[in-house]
Symmetry: C2
């Protein structure tokens, strides 16, 4: 199974706290292996690790790492870099070329450095409309994994949900 | 074409400003007709209307409307209510039953009132994992519309993007 790691650029702890948390939780729920934030933020690390502990993993989060070094390391291990941007090529068009590749998926918070467009092997748009890196990442991962089946790989959590048409059914994981 | 409107519950203007904006922009980009916030917030109305003016519509946003009345009005016009919740039934299982229905898609910010689970015709989960109402809404709309084709219905904007493998290509809309 190819590796997928999300690289979150330009996270500003005060302003982006909630959106970056959504990015991280989407990455986990839809089957990425982990997320790296370029800005150091121990509070988000703790809150995401807590979700993984409760609901299963493996899923890693690290913060305060240089995007340039992350990209270079990823490349030197043979991986490809995919930049999610509304200016990119349609995901449906690019998808066949992603098959079997280890992917570092770059999502920006504030404006991303122009170099990212050059560094990326793939600049990919989930619609060419302005919306949300959270929504774009969710649909990208859903497309890459052809559905939700990766949810089943989340193991070792303490809680799980029994899907229900009314109300909340949560039980202890076996 | 069935109507789809998003109902955002419990939006707190300071805390949820950015996430609610993402919810609204995902609703627009993925083909919903509009969004209603139960909390009044003219600032978000302005920023979403500005996106619609620049990038196309139609898409409406209204705020400060009672969820109970919105649900009742929707019902009295024959529409169904779909509540997005991690506790719900898998979207893939529910999808065939949504065909052709006008849908009010309820997404919560803070904890939603328990009654919503009862009021809803469908309690739907996009994975039974904790993640993000933004990601869940994106995947739900993507599934309902079987892809991005609704993007093409966005008309009358001033700008449009030419998809590109490098850099940003924006032009004036014809």
């Amino acid at each position: 199974m190819p590796k997928i790691v999300v690289l979150r650029l330009g996270h500003r702890p005060q302003r982006d706290k909630r959106v970056t948390t959504h990015v991280a939780l989407v990455a986990r729920a839809f089957g990425a292996d982990g997320i790296i934030l370029t800005t150091r933020d121990p509070a988000i690390e703790r809150s995401v690790n807590k979700v993984t502990e409760l609901w299963g993993g493996p899923f890693f989060i690290r913060s305060g790492e240089s995007w340039r070094k992350t990209v270079q390391d990823w490349r030197s291990e043979g991986g490809s870099v995919l930049h999610l941007t509304m200016y990119g090529l349609p995901v449906d068009e690019v998808l066949p070329r992603l098959q079997g590749k280890d992917l570092l998926v770059v999502v920006g918070a504030e404006k991303v450095p122009g170099e990212i467009f050059e560094f990326a092997d793939f600049n990919v748009a989930v619609t060419n409309q302005p919306h949300s890196e959270v929504g774009a990442l969710a649909v990208l991962l859903y497309r890459i994994f052809s559905g939700f089946k990766l949810e089943k790989k989340l193991l070792g959590g303490r809680l799980m949900i029994t899907p229900s048409d009314k109300g909340k059914k949560v039980k202890k994981a076996p």
